[in-house]
Symmetry: D2
Subunit: 300 residues, 4 copies
């Protein structure tokens, strides 16, 4: 039986190929995550375990989609940058990636919340945008990090005021119209030095591929921290971050890529530049990070 | 700190609103499901538990998205029809729905495969198409059901020949160029009456909302079958379907919507027309189904 | 010399095919026509010759593009409806049609303005919209005709008040917030019965294809008017319209399609239903016109 | 009377804004120009007057649309490059520009063909493409110029063979599979040195804005040629081009922008860099042209 009689319905499909030679940015957002975080009693203003679950999903994305070069996450949102030349999935948009991200979120939930069952169905929205130049991609990422800062500072103030027995409406009145400096002042009066908060809260999270080589010396300290990190079990996670927080930019988590050591004919180890997926909490607004990781957004 | 300096990056976002007053069809497809089904040892040519997990995801979609009116699933693919007037999610496309579907797939896995752990990360692709008329939506659904028939008949032949100790290449040679009639003949010689196979394999699955009232009398037999269905535990599922298969169109599964019985002042029960989500394995190519369920694709 | 090295640039082209099985409406608008009409001293509030030039362009469109079924013009704007099944130009959008329209506008200028040279370069914008149902196309056309009425009534009032030696700002104040009834009252006081104005001003213009047969009897009166119309030379055009204006719906212009008369074996003339391009000034908001011309928007 | 009841039809309009910060290239193509050129007896293989009419249209485009930076024409096709930052017409696509081009084509016809009336209605198709980088725009233009070369060489051979009393099919057979070198050989045997042909045929035409200053010294020779060009009336156009053709790159036409000479307080003329629209027949495939006119495609 031929199916040709009905095949005309395919002519209604619209090609949704994205413009070639542009950076593709995919932004994933939790759907109804206000409710979701209430139902699962996420800590206010930031739940570190929830953030780390998001980071784990991002790391899994890098394992799965080789054309990802950078990602940035804050709260229940994650932005992924695909390289300009990617032909992944014929440059069509977002379904596969958001589906994969969601799958990992559910599958890894128990790793991060061993004490909590999923009580509702988490889902994510996604939006794909193309950017024609590296400068604009950097501005995009800066836009998200500024947002992270604005929201985190406001939320930190808000919940500290609530803790100090203000009502919700008193708190909202107190914060109305305040600037960065005012909010830092409020926090200071409540005994909080904003810049002492964990970088993961203040800066958000970056997951990206980097050359292992270039990282080797500079991140020795990070390796030790990483060792400590791995040694400390989950109940102590918070303490651990208090220890780590003084490092503006540290490696929080390494994906389990094994080192492959080769030796040349003289028995000397061959140094190879290899990509490793790194999760970090860096300042991505200034030039420093991008100069140190020039290969990430390089024009091919 | 204002974020206005970077907000220009939003101007690169493209509005992806779908044409108003058209039926929106979302088709979800398993990604790399050939590998996925091998890894999880799905039965050939059809794995009933895997199909029922897909159906359970579709049913959850109906609970979550009130503007869905019909859906049709076959193999690792599911098509969802949203009503013409839906403003769900501003008529933007597919991310939320495919993300939700994926979430349910992972969360319900253990209900259908209590004996198997997820060994890889399932994910789904999705595509959204608009259809301007009811006739074309019906042709779309017919297209999918014809595909179901063609593939299922081929695969059933293929695996029966393999069972009868043919090699893969012998089997492929045997089937090359055969028509529907030829394949039925081959199956007959191997002791299989194609029309005796379970409807879920031959017809695929329909999940849709229907008025409970209109269903009440006509599906009395179905209610009894449903009772039996519920009574029989999972290990006996297969036998159960052998019993049920003689009914061309039967209710396989009811979502747990409780009956609400009201009484009028005379103590008589008030009949109300209520939508119930129904899973079925009907012929959706002919007119009969659509005449009996005229409200599903009615033009508002 | 092969050109393949550069051909990748074609991959940046975006397919702009419109949705199949939908009515395609093309709306052409004069660009900077406020200036253009000042420069060419178009009469206020309506310049009949300018309107008839627009109509002539529309008629030429029907000669050129066989899939056009209806068009409606008002002021410097013209909307063209292509039939649902058209594959004209692969359902791509507007360039060819607006280019053709513009070409005719310049070429026919002298036919309508023999006393005026083109002093600036006329150009038109165009926009293409798809409509999935006949009802919505009719609503679209009603929308344009309501606009015609609103604008024409306002402009007629405005220029009559100016004629009566009001200043521009007095006139604007006088009209602010007035309703249809108020404006009719103002016109009445200035000696104008709005419904006596030429239909081309009040109703705009429709150009469409119609069966000659169905038209034959009913438009006999029109044929006579048409004969008169043709007999009267341009200087008397205005008077001519005063004569004609009492007919709500009359044929203003026939395209020069010759009658082809055939005879059957008994010497009787064979009546054939043939499409003729007709320009008219009908009410297209109510059902009457569409019932009398049911073939125009019929669903194939 | 409010029009709100029908305004919902506007919701069917699709936003067609092009991606910001990309070069917009508009390519205009003659529709049915094979017929059109036959009907108006254009010379084979190139009609210089027809090409110059196309160039005049392009020049008028530069007068009208200030965001144009470069254009390239060959045969009945013209490509226009808008600067990356243009907000012209809200970055919507092509209607206005192709309408304007068409208008000029008809209006200027008599300037170039004083001896011929327009016998049919010329119209143009248009397509808009965005390019994210300068390199790709240059590749686009190179692609068109290679096409010009390939077609012109083939057509020149073809018509020379026809002139030498070959039949059409003999000519087609003779040319089948020939390479650039083979065709040059054929032409040489027929007494034609391909590189002696007018640049307008071999290279196509570029119309662009350039700084007058930077041009001043280098194009002194061109100014003299330009003077000659202006002095020679149309009947002698062909001879004139024979004289000019030895200059690979010469100024064929200056738009009538008057020189504005200012003097400083010491009576010295103030040199100002001013944009002038220039028509030329340059090699735009190599780097030389773009280095000499670096401002044209500079990234802002």
């Amino acid at each position: 039986m031929a199916n040709s009689k009905y095949e005309y319905v395919k002519s209604f499909e619209v090609e949704d190929k994205l413009m070639p030679s542009t950076w593709i940015v995919l932004r994933i957002d939790g759907r109804h995550f206000h409710q979701f975080s209430d139902k699962h009693e996420f800590k206010k203003p930031n739940d570190e375990r929830a953030l780390k679950l998001m980071n784990a999903c991002a790391e899994a994305m890098f394992e799965e989609f080789p054309d990802l070069v950078f990602s940035y996450g804050v709260s229940d949102e994650y932005s992924f940058v695909f390289k300009k030349t990617t032909e992944f999935y014929n440059r069509r948009s977002s379904s596969i990636t958001v589906s994969f991200f969601t799958s990992v979120y559910v599958m890894k939930w128990k790793d991060f919340f061993p004490d909590k069952d999923l009580k509702s169905i988490p889902s994510f929205d996604a939006r794909t945008v193309c950017y024609p130049s590296t400068k604009i991609v950097r501005d995009y990422l800066a836009w998200r990090q500024v947002d992270c800062h604005i929201n985190n500072q406001y939320n930190t103030c808000f919940w500290k005021l609530i803790e100090s027995r203000k009502t919700k409406s008193e708190t909202q009145d107190r914060l109305k119209g305040t600037q960065t400096q005012d909010k830092n002042e409020i926090l200071f009066q409540l005994g909080v030095n904003y810049s002492d908060l964990p970088a993961i809260f203040r800066k958000g999270s970056c997951v990206f591929k980097d050359k292992v080589n270039s990282c080797f010396v500079s991140s020795l300290k990070n390796h030790i921290l990483h060792f400590l990190y791995r040694s400390i079990s989950y109940p102590f996670l918070h303490m651990h971050d208090d220890v780590l927080q003084s490092n503006k930019c540290f490696v929080a988590f390494y994906t389990p890529v094994e080192e492959i050591m080769k030796y040349n004919e003289n028995g000397q180890p061959v140094k190879r530049s290899r990509n490793k997926v790194i999760t970090d909490h860096c300042d991505i607004m200034g030039d420093k990070f991008w100069q140190e990781h020039a290969s990430i957004l390089k024009d091919e």
